[in-house]
């Protein structure tokens, strides 16, 4: 079983601050992390490896610093790591990214057949959930998104059965390998890195592929040129014109505050009272 896991290095958006005056992103000191959603994909791949044997290759497209994300993945037990990095990729949107990653996966396949490609549900910076489906389409792989559970793999028949989160329930799907699976968040818990793997990860000779090594055939399809979407403007959310009306009473006692609030609410918004009555039956 050879599984490729696509991981992205992202800024820890919990720590991103917007400059209050200029509305620009203050990136200084914001740590880069492995996209949290991708760790569920990695753990699921490692579990399949534990179950069926095989190899896990982690693949990342990004600047040279993204090496850190790959080493992190190695420390959890990934077998091999490849960084796809080239200035030509700068400004790639999801369409261009899936083109570059699909090309790299074809290259990997030349050395060893690939049974499964995993990706996270989405990234916390791009947040589009499109790169996975994009890669599947480009490689002609069956696509299984929002997978919450891998029921099992029939290695002989090359078939996989998964639970997929759909609206209002779970779809149980069976398909043929190779296929692309995007893993839902929260479905597993990442294992602890072992000392041995941490040492190995630190010393591991990463493969870094430029556009040629990654097998990019059409340079027009990556970077800004290969990206149909254009950011026309970035701006701060509109502050609401009006601040909250403060509910205050003489005593400040909770019961008084509550009664005062209800009186104001139901006078100004009779439809809310109607709604509450409707719900209450």
């Amino acid at each position: 079983m050879h599984i490729i896991v696509c991981i992205k290095q992202v800024p820890d958006s919990a720590q991103i601050r917007v400059h209050p005056v200029t509305n620009t992103i203050m990136r200084q000191g914001v740590p880069a992390i492995v996209n949290p959603y991708d760790l569920y994909a990695l753990e699921e791949a490692l579990r399949l490896k534990d179950r069926y044997g095989g190899r896990v290759t982690v693949l990342c497209m990004g600047p040279s610093q993204a090496e850190a994300a790959l080493r992190k993945a190695l420390s959890f037990g990934a077998d091999e790591a490849i960084l796809v990095s080239d200035r030509a990729f700068a400004g790639s949107d999801t369409l261009a990214t899936s083109y570059a990653l699909a090309a790299a996966i074809r290259q990997i396949q030349k050395d060893m057949a690939v049974d499964l490609v995993f990706s996270g549900k989405q990234t916390i910076d791009g947040d589009t959930a499109q790169v996975g489906p994009g890669i599947a389409r480009r490689l002609g792989l069956q696509l299984l998104t929002y997978v919450s559970k891998i029921e099992g793999i029939d290695v002989e028949k090359k078939e996989i059965v998964v639970h997929r989160r759909a609206e209002g329930g779970a779809q149980i799907l069976k398909t043929r390998l190779p296929c692309l699976v995007t893993i839902l968040e929260g479905v597993n818990e990442m294992r602890f890195a072992t000392m041995g793997d941490m040492f190995r990860a630190a010393r591991y000779p990463l493969k870094v592929w430029d556009k040629d090594a990654a097998g990019i055939e059409d340079i027009e399809k990556v970077g800004l040129k290969g990206s149909p979407t254009v950011v026309a403007k970035v701006f701060a959310p509109q502050p609401r014109a009006q601040k909250a009306e403060r509910i205050e009473t003489q005593t400040g006692a909770p019961a008084d505050l509550a009664v005062t609030l209800l009186a104001k609410l139901f006078t100004r918004y009779p439809h809310i009272e109607r709604e509450i009555r409707k719900q209450a039956g």
């Binding site: 949107d93 791009g126 589009t128 069956q142 254009v230 026309a232």
Partner: protein, 367 residues
């Protein structure tokens, strides 16, 4: 993350407008389409919300609004077309085939891309649901066009007649407007409840354009073995709830979250929560409201011990009335709530529950 770093985040591109010569061939693409999503005989309401929004866009550029209905042959599938007319569509493209009985990526992607190639819409909208995101990503890649995910606003840039799709970026702290300049169709997904539900007008009708596709079950590699409906349907309920009581980290301890449930039960409301509370395991992930949770649009949203961070706010500011209880008078939630009570949620919540209970009881007696 530097500006020249390879990235997939559109916002990292220079924020200026890139000048692109308009390809005259693109003028052949006309009309606004909305994909009508249905499963288990029920259309997802996001499709009607999108028809409402699509209507505005179509009127702005003076074109027709079409619904795209795909499913197994039969009256149910056709009824969805009539419904689409009631919600504002001028016409519907209808693909009926047994292979489309349940959603699967492959046959849906090939059918939708075939339709787009044949009839060339300039704008194609889908719901940002699990189904819609799955389908939109595949269709956009197959067509080689741009797709803007999870938009919170759609508009037309009249200067170049293109779709201006606005979405949160950088963890919700900023918004960005994205355009697909030299590719058609321009695709976007929008989350349920972001757009308003249009009026349903049963007098409206439209025409149906039927399209055959040649797909054999034997050629489709993915099979649906089973569908297991959720035991608790709370997933769908929260987004469409009319009254929501939500709690945040200000409640301090998991036991105190009971105060939220207590008030909700008096109001027959749904319960929502902030992300830290979900991550701490106080309530299930289905109840998270916000950028990485649900977008809600209730008539009344009561927020207890919630700071009002932008990532939470984007999920609930569409509420008609917001009541905030927070002990910090400077909490951001007071900047956009309707009513604010500065105080300890552990004392205010029981008082509020009691006041609502009494009000409902007396009114019942009076009525």
């Amino acid at each position: 993350m530097t500006a020249e770093a390879p990235s997939t985040t559109p916002a990292k591109k220079p924020a200026g407008r890139r000048r692109v010569e308009f390809d005259p061939r693109l003028a052949a693409y006309k009309g606004v389409w909305v994909f009508i999503e249905h499963e288990h005989n029920r259309v997802h309401p996001v499709s009607w919300e999108l028809l409402g929004e699509g209507r505005k866009l179509a009127d702005r550029i003076g074109v027709e609004l079409a619904g795209v209905v795909m499913g197994e042959p039969g009256a149910a599938t056709r009824d969805f077309c009539s419904e689409a007319f009631h919600y504002g569509a001028d016409l519907c493209y209808l693909v009926e085939d047994p292979v489309l009985a349940q959603y699967r990526n492959d046959p849906y992607t090939s059918s939708l891309t075939a339709l787009v190639r044949e009839y060339q819409p300039e704008i194609l909208l889908l719901g940002a649901t699990t189904l819609g995101r799955d389908l939109a990503g595949s269709v956009a890649t197959t067509l080689g066009t741009g797709l803007t995910a999870d938009c919170t606003g759609l508009n037309i840039d009249m200067e170049n007649r293109s779709l201006a799709a606005t979405r949160p970026t950088f963890g919700g702290s900023l918004l960005c407007t994205i355009q697909t300049l030299n590719y058609r169709p321009q695709m976007a997904t929008v989350r349920p409840r972001v757009m308003q539900m249009p009026e349903r007008n049963t007098d409206r009708t439209g025409r149906i354009v039927e399209q055959r596709i040649a797909l054999a079950e034997a050629d489709i590699m993915t099979k649906v073995l089973q569908f297991i409906p959720d035991a608790n349907q709370e997933q769908a309920r929260l987004e469409y709830a009319d009254i929501i009581v939500a709690g945040g980290r200000g409640l301090k301890r998991p036991e105190n979250f009971q105060l939220v449930w207590d008030l909700a039960s008096v109001l027959h409301a749904e319960v929502g929560a902030t992300r830290p509370v979900v991550q701490a395991g106080w309530v299930s992930a289905e109840r998270q409201v916000g950028q990485t949770g649900k977008t809600v649009r209730p008539k009344l949203y009561i927020a207890a011990g919630i700071s009002g961070a932008i990532q939470h706010r984007v999920g609930m500011e569409g509420a008609d009335v917001i009541i905030a209880i927070n002990e910090d008078p400077a909490a951001p939630i007071f900047d956009f709530a309707t009513y604010g009570i500065v105080g300890n949620a552990m004392q205010i919540m029981p008082a509020l529950t009691e006041a609502f209970r009494q009000h409902l009881a007396t009114a019942k007696l009076a009525g």
